[in-house]
Symmetry: D2
């Protein structure tokens, strides 16, 4: 067997920052709070490649995932812990100075409708990126995580409301909160969802009976917000609840009901 | 050169209904009303294949497009006429009993804002499908077209408005009108756009100054409509204006501001 | 509470064929062969609406899903059975003459690599559409299902191979097998996957060690196939295994490595 | 008219880095080398917002685009020049310390097939981002551009080829070259396309007659390359041709024909 990957590349002096696989779909089992969660993520995993190595052994990246997932002696109490184990397993199989793994999936939470108190399932897109750096010979590895959670809410235009005796335009908006930090500082997904939901003019629900719909309509009209206001709300709530150990970023897209385009806003502390 | 395509296939007795290429991007020049329109469509072109032929000569499908587009002696006054010429050219190069060509593109129209009367450009997704059947030895070919035009407007919920003293929820909606018929009955894109825009609670604009925004907000609140109402409006206007020589279909998607999911409605006469 | 939905619509004489919700994400628990499967589908559910009713009560569609999903006395041994129960529940809450439910999700199967015999997880996009018609006063309802399963394989061009001494071009291809019929005739997803995988020049795997890669490369070169050949293979295998009680359709898209566009082919028996 | 945007926001001390509109479609006319090019881009335009201002006047962002586009006294000889004028116009209408505009569109180039010398149209996705910073009272503004051009080619696996007597797997790959710098250093799109096309195992063509197909198959087998090799080729060619005044980055995605996932590689100098 010829290991073509280990040859020297023709182009000299060019290291590559990220080499790996993406759009890989697999199945995770997370055991958390005495419940088994099954997650079907889309995965990206990559390493850096020095300038004197032609190619990565891609199957070792995939194998690191498969072996951690199918090792029944391991218990993963969180997605971040599972990712940390995969990058640790990978460092035994392939040399790298920096590697990352990204998992994208929908997280479904059971909630209650606001007035009729009926059970409803709400889905939130989540992205978990875990990065591991192995710097130098004796250095300890360093692991950090970047978590993004999105939710759909709405914006009620305060400008139109102020100029039309309370009448205004309203639209669906998508908010995303991203935090980055060390394992011990990473909040639970549910806490990030709570911050998003209270930052909109109103959150959205999959099931709404008429009494719930009326409640939301009233709440929305009492809480007119620009896209910019929602972004600042997310940032202010997140800083207050998560403190300064985390990088915090927020983005909101308002899918304008009177325009064909979207309005957006981004901010945060890096 | 071995023509592998002309061999008999291993699997016996299986004709194929559509064989061709898609996701092909090209450049069209349409000369209409003394103006040159450049269109960059995504193209699908396909033929049927009898059960005793292994494969289509795909390059002949592509060549039929390229040759018609680059023949400067031809003038195409409409997308449908250009498609008709491509399918005619193709019938000289490849046998088929039925072929179709689909062109998807954005059509940009200059409009005026409703109150401030400023110039604004509005884009509309359009799909043109042209089908040609060659039935039998002496039979004339038959050509028909299916045109879909989409526009973004909005819906203002009449149910929430009736139960909340005029307060309601509002959201972006996407309407699509599809007509199918012979060349002489196909309406202009602009007429289809007009029908869509007057069917919503209000149309949308890319540019809106405050006076325009106020005008739209008033109009929306005077015209509350379900997704179902918008669909029926499109169908009623189209039947009235285009008569009964055309198949007419309509679909509306309302991207609910109080839900994470969309509401939709479809109807028409086939 | 005013029930605006029950009013007569302004546009007269226009029934709507499909009115409902889509892009709804939820969580299903399927109990099959003594295992719990968690599925996170994207859902569409719709009914028809007669010409004298203004709007559907959309929350009743959502509630039919939520109530069946959260009723712990029910055991769903298949996605089709769950859909059947939802449409039955819906017929108690909202009148309709025809309703359908579509579930789209990824189905993950554990397999073994072809030579190294390592565990690998492979994901297959699946669409399950269940339709229920309630025709007339005393008539029994009628239920049928339409199932689509997709898999990624590859095509190895036999034309280029015949003209280049065995050298050729190779590309990823996506095959989709669709079957439609009554509940008792619907095959298991795994059987549909098997048919797809043996119809390509070779199937694909998420994990491949070098011995597996070599095995696939040899197999691919021994099995050159056009997109059209793969479509006919799927149809021939499906007809042979599933008989004539099912409608069978197949579609293959070959993402050409020497072109920017894709080649596709469709066939079947309706 | 109340200018709600100019109020102070409720959340204190939070500036926003980017506030604007996106997914706006419009029509550009570029006059270059004595030819009129019509481009239908998707546009994003944004400014920063200080912590004491509630919202941006979004219509002024849109108006800056519309007014530059419809001013017939202006001649735009490049997309970058048009973007520069829009950001200059915007600085007269809305205060900002940093603004950007992103245009995404397909650029269609007429080429010749490699052997049969037939005319063929090839489309390349392009992204042009122009940023303008206004720093301080007397300071001159600073403008820079970031241009990304993508092309579809292919990769021929050298590892499988070395271990299977010349047989291998082949797949479509997408390469993207990004450059960033001042206006005078920005290369023409065509030069960036040339670099991409010579970096793959082979480029792709929309039209290929059999003689062309054979030529490509031979070329591909003489030029086996990993995804990593293609990335380094792009970087090496771009550095050689464009020198060190530009930031240069490259990314390649190889859509593996033996896997369901993609392989990717990124590198460059910032």
């Amino acid at each position: 067997m010829k290991e073509t990957q280990d040859l020297h590349p023709e182009a000299k002096g060019i290291q590559l920052h990220e080499v790996g696989v993406r759009n890989l779909k697999t199945l995770l089992l997370i055991h958390r709070q005495e419940t088994d969660f099954k997650i079907l993520p889309t995965v990206e995993i990559a390493i850096d490649l020095p300038d004197n190595i032609k190619g990565a052994h891609m199957s070792r990246l995939v194998e690191s995932i498969t072996d951690v997932l199918t090792d029944e002696s391991r218990k993963h109490s969180s997605v971040e812990m599972m990712s940390t184990q995969v990058l640790s397993e990978l460092s035994k199989r392939h040399s790298y100075s920096r590697a990352h793994m990204i998992l994208q999936f929908d997280f479904v939470v059971e909630q209650r409708t606001p007035k009729s108190n009926k059970r409803t399932f709400e889905a939130y897109p989540i992205v978990v990126k875990t990065t591991r750096t192995n710097r130098g010979f004796n250095a300890e590895e360093k692991i950090f995580h970047e978590i993004s959670v999105s939710s759909k809410g709405n914006t009620v235009c305060p400008h139109a409301m102020a100029n039309n005796d309370g009448k205004t335009h309203i639209q669906r908006a998508i908010g995303t909160l991203t935090v980055k930090g060390m394992n011990e500082d990473i909040p639970e997904f549910e806490k990030m969802i709570d911050i998003l939901e209270k930052s909109f003019s109103s959150p959205t629900f999959t099931l709404l009976k008429s009494s719930d719909e009326n409640f939301l309509v009233q709440r929305m009209h009492n809480n007119p917000l620009f896209c910019e206001d929602v972004t600042r709300n997310i940032l202010a709530f997140a800083r207050e609840e998560f403190g300064k150990n985390l990088e915090i970023r927020a983005e909101v897209e308002s899918q304008e009901s009177i325009h064909k385009h979207d309005v957006f806003s981004r901010g945060g502390w890096v």
